[in-house]
C-alpha cells in the first residue's frame, strides 16, 4: 500500500496551495481530486484577487489579509494577473463624500497589493471611459483590483507541488476513509478508472470546498459550512474596458467586468441546500443580474450572453445572518482538538485572494502535528513560469506566430511559453489556431496533454480556454478531440465520449441563455455533432 505523510483531498485553490506548501517543506504528499483542478468554487469565481472592499466595514481582517496576500501572489505569478481598474458609479451628490472617505481608508490597504489610490470622476470623465453608461450616473470613484485566471492558478500550484515531489492524481475520487480501531484516520480509499486503491497517510487534509460536509461525514468528523450559490453570466466580447460596481435591486453589490475576450456579470449570493454536483443558474438569478446591470448600462439586454456558470462558496457556518453579511474568513479545523479524531485536518471558508495565507496556516498545523519544523516558502518562490519575464513580441517573431496568440500564451504560461512554442520546431503544423475565438494554438493543447495532466476535452478547456469563446466549441471541439486522440492514442469510443462530455458541459452553461445568436450557435452545434456526426446515436451518454 502506498504511504504518504499527507493525502490532500481536493484540487481547488486550497488543496493545491496546501499540497505545494507541504511538498516544498519536504513532505511526501499525494493530491487527490475527483474531477479536475479548480472544478468547484475555485474555478467558478469572479477571477479576482481582490481586497474585498465591501469587507472593509464588517470584516477588516479579511480585507487586510487579502490585500497583503494579493501582493505576494503578484510576486510569485506576475504573468497571470492583470490590473482591473474599477469604477464605482454614484448617482447622487449626497453619497459622494461617504464613498470618498471609504476609499481613503481602502487606499491604505490597496498599497499592499500595488493598487493605485482612488480618484473621483466627473460625469464627463465617466462617459469618456464608459460611453454606454446611464445618464443617471453623475459621479464615480475609482479603485484598483487585480484579475486572475483562477483555473491556471490552481493548476500552477498543483504543478509546483508535483515539481517538489508530490503525486497528483486527478479523476480520482475518495470513496472512504481508512480508520484504525479507535476511529482515527489513517488513509483514504480512492477510486479511479482503473479501480479502487487504499492510500495510507499520517494526515488526511480535507480541502473539498462545498463537498466538505459530504466528505466529513464519511470521515466521522463534522465541518459545518453555509454553502452559498454565486451565479455569473458571460457575455461575448468586452462590453467595456473598465469594471463597474453595481448596486443591485436589493442593495447588494454586483459587478460587471471585462475578462479576456468576454465580459463577466456577477454575482448572486444565496443559501444553497442542493447537491454541489448538480447546480445551475436559474431564470430569476439571470434576471436579477441583468436588471442590476441594466440600471447602469441600459443597453445590456442587446448584448449576447454566451453562458452562465455557478460556484458554491464554502462559507463558514453562522445562523441568523444574511448571506451577504457572512464572514469571508476561513478556518482550519484540527479534528484531534475538536472531536478527538487524529489524522485528519479540514479547511473551509476564505476567498481566492487569501488562498496562500490559508494554505500556509493549514500546512503549519500539519507540520506541527508531524513534528516537521520547515518554514513556509510559498510567498518567496515563483510558481512555474514566473521565474523570469519573457517578451511576447520576441516569442512571436522567433516562432512565427501571431503576437496576439503569443500574448495569450504568455498570460497563461509565463516563461513556459517558450517550451510550448518549441514544440512547433519539429511539428510546424502545431502553430495552427485551433480555437478561433480566443485564440488557442495546437501546440498549447499538445503541451497541456503532455505536461499538464489533461486527459479529457474538459480538462483542456480548463487549462487553455479553448472552447470558451463565442462559439463555445462548435468549430474547435472536433479538432481538439483529434489532437487529443492522437496524443493519447484514444479509441474512437473514448474520443467520442470525451466530445460528448465536453458538449454536455457546454449545454449546462448555455442552456440558460439560449436566445439570439447563442440559440443559433447551439442549433449549428447540434446539427454538426448530432445530425451529421450522429454522436448522440452512436454513443451512449453517461
Amino acid at each position: 500500500m502506498p504511504e504518504y505523510d499527507v493525502v490532500v483531498v481536493g484540487a481547488g485553490v486550497n488543496g493545491t496551495g496546501i499540497a505545494r506548501d507541504l511538498a516544498m517543506r519536504g513532505l511526501k504528499v499525494c493530491l487527490v481530486e475527483k474531477s479536475d483542478f479548480a472544478s468547484g468554487a475555485s474555478g467558478a469565481n469572479s477571477g479576482m484577487i481582490h481586497g474585498g472592499l465591501r469587507y472593509l466595514i464588517y470584516d477588516i481582517d479579511t480585507a487586510k489579509h487579502s490585500c497583503l496576500d494579493s501582493g505576494y501572489i503578484q510576486k510569485i505569478v506576475p504573468f497571470l494577473l492583470f490590473r482591473l481598474p474599477f469604477i464605482m458609479p454614484i448617482t447622487s451628490r449626497a453619497r459622494l463624500p461617504f464613498y470618498e472617505t471609504y476609499l481613503e481608508v481602502y487606499d491604505k490597504y490597496a498599497v499592499l497589493k500595488n493598487g493605485m489610490p482612488h480618484t473621483t470622476l466627473s460625469q464627463k470623465e465617466i462617459k469618456e471611459l464608459v460611453p454606454n453608461i446611464s445618464d443617471k450616473v453623475k459621479y464615480a470613484v475609482t479603485f484598483d483590483e487585480f484579475g486572475i485566471d483562477p483555473q491556471r492558478l490552481c493548476f500552477l500550484n498543483g504543478a509546483s507541488a508535483a515539481a517538489y515531489g508530490a503525486e497528483v492524481r486527478l479523476h480520482t475520487e475518495v470513496v472512504d476513509f481508512l480508520k484504525d480501531s479507535g476511529g482515527n484516520i489513517i488513509g483514504v480509499r480512492v477510486r479511479d478508472k482503473s479501480g479502487r486503491q487504499d492510500l495510507r497517510s499520517r494526515i488526511v487534509m480535507q480541502a473539498t470546498g462545498p463537498w466538505i460536509m459530504k466528505t466529513s461525514s464519511k470521515a466521522g468528523v463534522e465541518v459545518k459550512i453555509r454553502p452559498a450559490k454565486g451565479t455569473h453570466i458571460t457575455f461575448d466580447r468586452r462590453l467595456l474596458n473598465f469594471s463597474l460596481t453595481l448596486d443591485m435591486i436589493d442593495g447588494r453589490n454586483g459587478f460587471i467586468m471585462p475578462h479576456e475576450n468576454s465580459t463577466i456579470l456577477g454575482t448572486t449570493d444565496d443559501d444553497y441546500y442542493g447537491d454541489p454536483d448538480d447546480v445551475n443558474a436559474t431564470e430569476d438569478e439571470i434576471e436579477y443580474l441583468i436588471q442590476g446591470a441594466e440600471h447602469y448600462l441600459p443597453d445590456i439586454r442587446k448584448a449576447r450572453m454566451i453562458r452562465t456558470w455557478v460556484g458554491i462558496r464554502p462559507t463558514l457556518f453562522a445562523y441568523g445572518k444574511d448571506e451577504d453579511k457572512l464572514s469571508r474568513d476561513h478556518k482550519v479545523f484540527d479534528h484531534e482538538k475538536i472531536e478527538g479524531v487524529k489524522g485528519i485536518v479540514s479547511i473551509a471558508g476564505g476567498k481566492l485572494a487569501s488562498y496562500r495565507l490559508m494554505s500556509e496556516e493549514a500546512a503549519d498545523l500539519i507540520c506541527r502535528k508531524l513534528g516537521v519544523d520547515a518554514k513556509c516558502q510559498t510567498h518567496l518562490i515563483a510558481l512555474p513560469g514566473g521565474e523570469r519575464q519573457v517578451s511576447e513580441k520576441e516569442l512571436a517573431a522567433k516562432y512565427g506566430v501571431a503576437q496576439y496568440a503569443a500574448h495569450r500564451l504568455v498570460f497563461r504560461h509565463g516563461a513556459r511559453s517558450e517550451q510550448i512554442l518549441e514544440l512547433t520546431r519539429e511539428r510546424p503544423e502545431l502553430k495552427e489556431t485551433v480555437c478561433l475565438c480566443d485564440p488557442v494554438l495546437a501546440c498549447e493543447l499538445v503541451y497541456a496533454i503532455r505536461n499538464e495532466y489533461a486527459e479529457t476535452l474538459n480538462d483542456l478547456r480548463n487549462r487553455t480556454r479553448f472552447g470558451t469563446g463565442m462559439c463555445q466549441g462548435t468549430r474547435c471541439a472536433a479538432k481538439a478531440a483529434a489532437i487529443m486522440a492522437k496524443e493519447l492514442d484514444l479509441s474512437a469510443k473514448e474520443a467520442g465520449e470525451s466530445l460528448l462530455s465536453f458538449m454536455e458541459r457546454r449545454w449546462k452553461g448555455n442552456r440558460t441563455v439560449l436566445q439570439g445568436r447563442t440559440l443559433e450557435e447551439e442549433e449549428l452545434n447540434q446539427a454538426s455533432y448530432f445530425l451529421v456526426g450522429n454522436l448522440n446515436r452512436l454513443l451512449v451518454s453517461r
Binding site: 431564470e283 439586454r301 495552427e432 489556431t433 468549430r475 472536433a478 479538432k479 478531440a481 483529434a482 489532437i483 486522440a485 492522437k486 484514444l490 479509441s491 474512437a492 469510443k493 474520443a495 467520442g496 460528448l500 458538449m503 454536455e504 449545454w507 442552456r511 440558460t512 441563455v513 439560449l514 436566445q515 439570439g516 440559440l519 443559433e520 442549433e523 449549428l524 447540434q526 446539427a527 454538426s528 448530432f530 445530425l531 451529421v532 456526426g533 450522429n534 454522436l535 448522440n536 446515436r537 452512436l538 454513443l539 451512449v540 451518454s541
Partner: protein, 435 residues
C-alpha cells in the same frame, strides 16, 4: 423604391421554397422567389433526410430500422404536431408525396441525387462516423460502397483545416469494424500550395482554380496506392465535381466517394446552386434579398418589401408562401419572446402559443434528448395557412412550409428534407390554386 408585380411570391430559397415555387409554376402561375443567395441550403451536409428511425437504440446501428415508410409512421405516432401530419395520414401516402416532390425538384436525368427515398443507408461524414439517411448527393460514401472493398485511400488536402485524417481513420476503422467490414485505410496528402488553415469553401475554390493540377496529383496518388476505393473530404468543387470524380474513376480505375460535411459546407453550396438552377430552368424570377416588411389589407397580404443589396423593392402579389426556415436560417428568432421575422406570426411549440418564455423551459437537461426549442414554429391549418393563438387563419392568402413550421425536430427526427419538400409542394399547389 422599385415596384414589381407577380402572382405568387415565395419567401425563402431553400428546399421548401424551391419546391413551392416549382409546384406553383407547374400550375401555370407567375412566381417570384425572394431570398438570400443560397438560403440555408449552405447548412446542408450533402444528405437529404426523410425519416431516421425514431426508436433507434444508441450504439446499435445494426438494429436501426432502414424502412423509411415505417419510420414515418412511428414519427406520426410520437410527434403529434409533425408537419408530416399535414401531408397524409399514412407512411405510404406521405412517402408518395415526398417522391412526387423529389421528382419535381430533382428531375433525375442529371443524377444529382442517389439512393432510394424508401430506404435508409449508413452514410459517412468528415469525422469518420456515419448517420442514417435515405438520399444523398451522388457519390457520397455509404456503407454499401464498402462491400468487397479492402484497400482504401483517404485523400487529405493540406489546406483544409477542419479535417484530421488521423482522427478520421481512428473513427472510420472503428465504426466499419463495428458494422462488420474489414478495410485498410492509407492516407495520401495532396498539397494545396500556398493555401493553409482554410475552410472547406476556400479549399473548394482553390481546387476549382487549380483543377488540372489537382486532378493530376490525385490520379498519381491513386494509381500508386492501388486502392479499390478513394475517399475525398467534402471540399470537392461545385462546378467541376462531376468531371473530377468521373475522370478519377476512369483513369485510376477505383471507385471515388466524397464525405458528408459539417455545416456550412461545400455540398450545401452545391445544393444551393442546384436549386437556383432549377428555378431558372422553370422560368421562375429570382430576387436576391431579405423580406423586410409587408403591407396587408385586413386578412389579405398585398405586398412584401424586399431589401436587396442596392435597393428596396416592393413586390405585390395575390398569393404568398413563407418558407424562411428556423433559427439558423433566420425565419424565426428568439430574444425574450419568439418572433416570426417577416409577418410577425404567432410562434408555437407543439400546439402551445409561446409568447415570452425562458428558453430553458423548452429544453431537456440531458443534452442527447430532443429539445422542444428546436421544434418551435408556425402552426398551420390543413391548407398550410398560419394560425393565430385562437386557431384563426391570420392571412387568407399566406401559406407556410418547411422548417418555419412547428412540430418537427429535424436534428433528432432526421426528417428535414422530406418535410420541406412535401410541405413546400403542398403550399405551392394551394397558393397556385386559390388565386
Amino acid at each position: 423604391m422599385k415596384k414589381i408585380e407577380t402572382e405568387i411570391v415565395v419567401i425563402g430559397a431553400g428546399l421548401a421554397g424551391t419546391a413551392a415555387a416549382l409546384a406553383a409554376v407547374k400550375s401555370g402561375r407567375r412566381v417570384m422567389v425572394l431570398g438570400r443567395e443560397s438560403g440555408a441550403s449552405a447548412m446542408n451536409s450533402g444528405a437529404l433526410d426523410i425519416a431516421a428511425d425514431p426508436g433507434a437504440i444508441p450504439a446499435h446501428p445494426e438494429k436501426w430500422s432502414v424502412d423509411v415508410r415505417k419510420n414515418i409512421e412511428e414519427l406520426l405516432v410520437r410527434s403529434p404536431m409533425h408537419p408530416y401530419h399535414l401531408i397524409g395520414d399514412s407512411g405510404e401516402k406521405i412517402l408518395e408525396e415526398i417522391k412526387k416532390a423529389l421528382a419535381l425538384v430533382f428531375p433525375g436525368e442529371d443524377h444529382f441525387l442517389s439512393g432510394e427515398p424508401g430506404r435508409n443507408r449508413l452514410v459517412f461524414n468528415q469525422l469518420g462516423t456515419f448517420k442514417q439517411t435515405a438520399l444523398t448527393q451522388a457519390r457520397m460514401l455509404s456503407f454499401e460502397d464498402l462491400s468487397r472493398i479492402r484497400k482504401i485511400l483517404l485523400v487529405d488536402f493540406s489546406g483544409f483545416r477542419d479535417f484530421d485524417p488521423d482522427f478520421f481513420r481512428r473513427n472510420f476503422l472503428h465504426w466499419t469494424d463495428c458494422l462488420g467490414a474489414r478495410v485498410e485505410l492509407a492516407i495520401a496528402q495532396i498539397s494545396t500550395n500556398g493555401l493553409s488553415d482554410k475552410s472547406s469553401l476556400e479549399n473548394a475554390r482553390w481546387i476549382e482554380e487549380n483543377f488540372e493540377e489537382t486532378l493530376e496529383k490525385l490520379k498519381s496518388a491513386v494509381k500508386s496506392s492501388a486502392a479499390e476505393l478513394v475517399i475525398l473530404p467534402p471540399v470537392i468543387p461545385v462546378i467541376h465535381r462531376e468531371e473530377l470524380m468521373t475522370k478519377l474513376e476512369q483513369e485510376a480505375g477505383s471507385k471515388v466517394r466524397e464525405l458528408l460535411s459539417f455545416p456550412p459546407s461545400v455540398p450545401g453550396k452545391r445544393l444551393g446552386d442546384y436549386l437556383q438552377e432549377r428555378l431558372k430552368q422553370d422560368g421562375i424570377e429570382r430576387l436576391m434579398g431579405k423580406a423586410a416588411g409587408f403591407e396587408a389589407n385586413g386578412q389579405k397580404i398585398k405586398s412584401v418589401l424586399a431589401r436587396c443589396e442596392s435597393e428596396e423593392v416592393q413586390i405585390s402579389a395575390a398569393g404568398f408562401v413563407l418558407a424562411t426556415g428556423g433559427f439558423l436560417a433566420g425565419g424565426i428568432s428568439k430574444s425574450e419572446s419568439f418572433k416570426e421575422e417577416v409577418f410577425g406570426l404567432e410562434v408555437f411549440c407543439g400546439s402551445e402559443p409561446m409568447g415570452t418564455i425562458f428558453t430553458e423551459k423548452l429544453t431537456s437537461a440531458r443534452l442527447t434528448n430532443p429539445h422542444p426549442v428546436f421544434s418551435v414554429g408556425l402552426k398551420v391549418s390543413p391548407e398550410m395557412k398560419p394560425l393565430d393563438r385562437d386557431g384563426r387563419i391570420t392571412y387568407e392568402n399566406l401559406c407556410a412550409a418547411g422548417s418555419v413550421l412547428s412540430g418537427a425536430n429535424y436534428i433528432f427526427d432526421g426528417s428535414a428534407a422530406g418535410a420541406s419538400l412535401a410541405s413546400g409542394c403542398k403550399a405551392g399547389n394551394i397558393a397556385a390554386k386559390s388565386l
